[in-house]
């Protein structure tokens, strides 16, 4: 059964820039250019994309906080626009890990307040708040003022609120953004547990490829307002299965000249460059069939031009490679 269905969603914003005292320049920005996507019940789907790819706009539309210009979307069969109030009862939303609560109330008081707004009361409210605090390991910090909580605690509290009214679908915008690795891992484990043991459907956005690989059943890659690929991580990897990735470590003071040389070689593609203090990591994709030959040619070309190579590694494509191949090619 499908939990989320989006059909041809489009959204544009009018951005006004001041030109003079009383003059403005209007510019229409197309944030979504016809996004269609389905998410199965109990599935974790990650939406991956650069900043400005349209992920947040998509999430806000699904969270009923933004009206699409055209297109349709349903959550568990309920139309997002026509049945907005009913949809709001079955979704839990977290849009920011560092904001969204009242600073002069404690974590517990904030949860109780939002629970009351959702119509919970008495023992039921107390039980839900207690369960949400326990699920997110926040019991010890429940009576601290919100403003005194660490970023990791705030992030967990945001998910706790999303769970408070026991929604069937969770919509999370960058749920681990800015968290330390230990807390991020804990949040990921919680999300997997919610989907596997409680059957919750989760749609999350992320920049983090490792997170998408670790948590998501399927990944949708978004670029410039469109979804350009949706598949399991394995399925996405297979899309570049005919490609091998070479990673060269070049001394940073001469890497730009070396990269120029590599870019002139027809059999290889420079996919990405990660700058480092001592050495830059240069990611090169080449056809699997000619990988050995490509490697020899690269090393020979660099050596004959007098460039040093600090290290070479050859590896299977990761989700990051797939992302760069798909988004970088556009």
């Amino acid at each position: 059964m499908l939990a989320i269905v989006a059909r041809e969603l489009r959204k544009s914003y009018v951005v006004r820039t001041r030109k003079g005292l009383l003059t403005w320049e209007k510019k229409v920005v197309e944030a979504l250019k016809g996004v269609s996507l389905t998410v199965k019940k109990g599935e974790i789907l990650g939406v991956l994309g650069h900043s400005g790819a349209g992920k947040s706009t998509f999430v806000k539309i699904l969270a009923t906080l933004l009206l699409p210009d055209s297109g349709e979307a349903e959550i568990l069969g309920l139309d997002l626009v026509r049945e907005r109030d009913e949809v709001r009862r079955i979704i839990g939303v977290s849009l920011s890990v560092e904001k969204g609560f009242f600073p002069r109330l404690t974590a517990r008081e904030n949860l109780k307040y939002f629970g009351m707004l959702y119509g919970l009361s008495g023992r039921e409210l107390d039980r839900r708040v207690k369960e949400a605090l326990e699920a997110l390991s926040l019991q010890k910090h429940a009576d601290k003022m919100y403003e005194e909580l660490s970023l990791g605690m705030k992030a967990r509290l945001s998910i706790a609120r999303a769970l408070l009214h026991d929604p069937e679908v969770l919509i999370l915008d960058e749920p681990t953004l800015g968290l330390d690795p230990v807390t991020a891992r804990r949040v990921r484990a919680l999300l997997v547990n919610l989907a596997r043991s409680q059957g919750k459907t989760i749609l999350l956005t992320t920049h983090n490829m490792a997170e998408a690989e670790a948590v998501c059943d399927r990944v949708a890659i978004m670029s410039e307002g469109r979804i350009i690929a949706v598949d399991s991580v394995e399925g996405l990897r297979r899309r570049v299965s005919g490609t091998v990735f070479l990673e060269l470590r070049l001394p940073s003071w001469e890497s730009s000249q070396a990269i120029s040389l590599l870019k002139r070689m027809p059999e290889v593609t420079v996919s990405a460059v990660h700058k480092g203090a001592q050495a830059d990591r240069v990611l090169i994709s080449a056809p699997l069939s000619g990988a050995d030959e490509a490697l020899i040619n690269i090393l020979r070309a660099l050596r004959s031009s007098g460039y040093k190579v600090r290290g070479v590694s050859l590896r299977e494509p990761t989700l990051e490679d797939v992302f760069i191949e798909l988004v970088g090619a556009r």
Binding site: A63, L65, R88, L117
Partner: protein, 253 residues
């Protein structure tokens, strides 16, 4: 009705916890009525302590109702909780207004309690108690004319970027027109015509008549309630439209 009751309960919970956690806010709340009393006394020295008492509470309540509902909207935006308030099963304007009502009542009660020792020093206890209860009743009633208007100001505050602009001129104009700051009878004819369309004006007239034992308070009260209904309906309708616009433009996030 159940939804509305939940919002009122949530508002009361928020206010009680906020005051418990913020002693500074509580102290300020208790001191403000004395500042208002000095202001009303300096504007017109011909009144009685009872009239100053009611006028001070009305002045603060009228300012707070407009400022606080818009302020709640601004706080929600500033703290990032606006989208989560919008996501509850009630409309945003209902959440903002109904969660504010308990705050208004609790704060009015605290302000009246803070100022009441003066009355008990000056008047006999039964008379002082009567004035306190009557003032509380009138001040609570005084929220009615301001609900729709405050809702509209809150929506407009969210719709425009210059947040403070609205609040800076709306409240003084309202207070002037309603006769809270200055007797309406001393204002020019066209301003008096304008002020007669404001329910708060009639409520102030009703309050003054009740305190001085004059006749005509019932007619003024009826006019205030009838105009409140019109204003609140118009305010509700307009704020719904503003909310729809915000929903379309992404202003709720």
């Amino acid at each position: 009705m159940r939804k509305e009751l939940n919002l009122l309960k949530a508002g009361a919970y928020y206010e009680v916890k906020l005051l418990k956690n913020s002693p500074g806010v509580l102290a300020l709340l208790v001191l403000r009525p004395y500042v208002a009393l000095l202001l009303t006394y300096s504007l017109d020295r011909s009144g009685t302590l009872s009239s100053y008492f009611l006028q001070s509470l009305s002045l603060l309540a009228s300012i707070d109702a407009v400022w606080d509902i818009a302020g709640l909207a601004l706080l929600a935006r500033w703290t990032g909780s606006l989208p989560y308030l919008s996501l509850t099963p009630s409309s945003l304007s209902s959440v903002l207004v109904l969660t504010y009502v308990p705050r208004y009542v609790i704060e009015s009660l605290l302000k009246a309690l803070a100022l009441s020792p003066l009355l008990f020093l000056e008047l006999a206890a039964p008379e002082a108690l009567k004035i306190v209860l009557l003032s509380l009743f009138l001040v609570t009633l005084g929220l009615l004319p301001l609900l729709g208007f405050s809702m509209l100001v809150a929506s407009a505050t969210l719709a425009v970027k210059e947040d403070a602009l609205w609040l800076e001129w709306v409240t003084p104009v309202l207070l002037l027109l309603a006769g809270v700051l200055y007797p309406v009878s001393l204002l020019p004819g066209w301003v008096r015509a304008l002020s007669s369309a404001i329910p708060l004006t009639h409520l102030m007239e009703a309050s003054a008549a009740l305190l001085s034992g004059r006749e005509g308070w019932a007619a003024s009260l009826a006019a205030a309630l009838a105009l409140s209904a019109v204003h609140n309906a118009a305010g509700g309708l307009l704020s719904t439209r503003v909310e729809r616009r915000l929903f379309k433009q992404g202003g709720l996030t």
